[in-house]
Amino acid sequence: MTAYLLRRTAFLVVSLFLAAVVLFLLLRLLPGDPANALLSVGASPEQVAAARHAIGTDRPLLQQFVSWLGEMARLDLGSSFVSTLPVGPEIAARLVVTVPLTLLSFLLAVVIAVPVGFVAAYRASTWYGSVLSALSQLGIAVPVFWVGMLLITVFALHLGVLPAGGFPQDDWADPGEALTSLTLPVVTIALVMSASLIRYVRSATLDVLGSDYLRTARALGSSFIGAMWRHGLRNAVVPVVSILGIELATTFLGAVVVESVFALPGLGTMLVKGFAQHDYPVIQGILVVSTFAVLVIGFAADLVQRLVDPRLRRSLGGRFPGDGA
């Protein structure tokens, strides 16, 4: 386990570094001068040069990269071109919305998917087993922002029981109010996320239900619940945990889009606005934070997978799960 942990941590560090390189290059090598965002149309060449000098894009690429890495190491993500405020604190303030939205949606999706997926497998041959499978098939084909629009129409416009969007000015000062405004977005993301999760839970359960060890346990006198608890659950949990990391990252992405539907002041709306205003430091800062988050989630998911699956732990120095071949 220690050897694996070292290997996996080294891999995480290397991927964080490479991700930083990729992000930096993508944003610098893209055509279009970031300096233009600072200038009005028809700026003189001297003004352009001055703007370039001010944001440092007149320096050699390597030098820019090194100083950028240094800034990031000090958690300094630069200042917005538009508002001139530092990006880091702005992102931190937005995370107050995005992180709870992501985690609550993810939790609700798991809470929905595990029992539904189990029933869809356990009662696969009944009509409601088929209906559940068909619904999850539908769920993976639905655009998440559309579900949000439909929920707004029904629950905010027609029934008027929940707000159509927005978030309290004072964030979580009144938790009840904050939760109310997050309810529809959370349900939106959770419904769509649970659809793909149901399919994994269902297939993992089907594998367990058809297994020889479960039949043997039953033949030796275990009750169905006892056998599922002692043997089934442990086996079914392995493939599900392995995709939970990916699902959590996807949930985060869903949050980015859904925030726009519900006008929530989170990272997603900040990013979309940054793109509209060609505000490079904002775009770069958010992409750095979210890519790192996705990589760290992947790291955590791999470790959890090791913990729940002793077979992976035993193959010392083995390759990473999901590596195949």
Partner: protein, 281 residues
Amino acid sequence: MSAGRRRVSRRVPRSATLIAGCVLAGLVLAVAVVSFFWLPYAPDDTTGGRLMPPGLPHLLGTDKLGRDLLTQLMIGARVALEAGAGAVLIGGLVGLAGGLAAGFATRWLDDTLSALLDILIAFPTVLLAMLVTAAREASLGSAIIAIGLAMSAIVARLTRVLVKRVLAQDFITASRTSGTSWPRVVVEHVLPNIWPTLSVNLALQFGLAVLAEASLSYLGLGAPPPNASWGRMLQEAQASVFIAPAGVIAPGVLLVVLVVGVNLIADGVRDVADPTRRRTR
């Protein structure tokens, strides 16, 4: 759909899913093809009055600018299919090349490529697409390139695993021993063996690409106004959902019909082409 029935009917290709998928996706394809030859109104015809309810002469009503909704929907079908096909073409070709390279590579190069792929996959499609559109101005082409590139990492990772699996087989060794060159091995053995799994995955990716394009257009990063995209139609209709619900319902329903159709085709092809494989999704 059920496990029990599947086991019984395993010898007969169960193609009900395939047929259902073809009908649904074919419907959207037909609409897109018709849109090239005939449209109820000119795409920029705003003479219909704003936010008209469904009826005559506008079958599905009009949008907030007075454009015919059915006309916009038909053009949107074209855009959605172009987005899906373009992204799969780019993602498939780039991904296949990368995956073959990694699959054939020695340990060191393979590890490097795999690590790179893992990082690329960590870049969520929509974020990557936003980056490309930010650089190249929002357009359908930018969105397709971006979605295709994001997809290529996923395709490459799958291809790599499949290639490794085929290369470990005895018949590859036998083929090499009898003097077949590596390029011929690829064409005669590797590609035919990885194609069934790969094509199913590409079909699923097609659906995801259509959804990604819709998300981008919804956020204002997709095809610009003259091309109606379902995502942008939804964004424009959101404010007036109370007065004109058709504008919100119709594009969404068509999106779902297309993506469900393509997913069903993928499931059906998998069942028919590879009956031994358990349904894993």
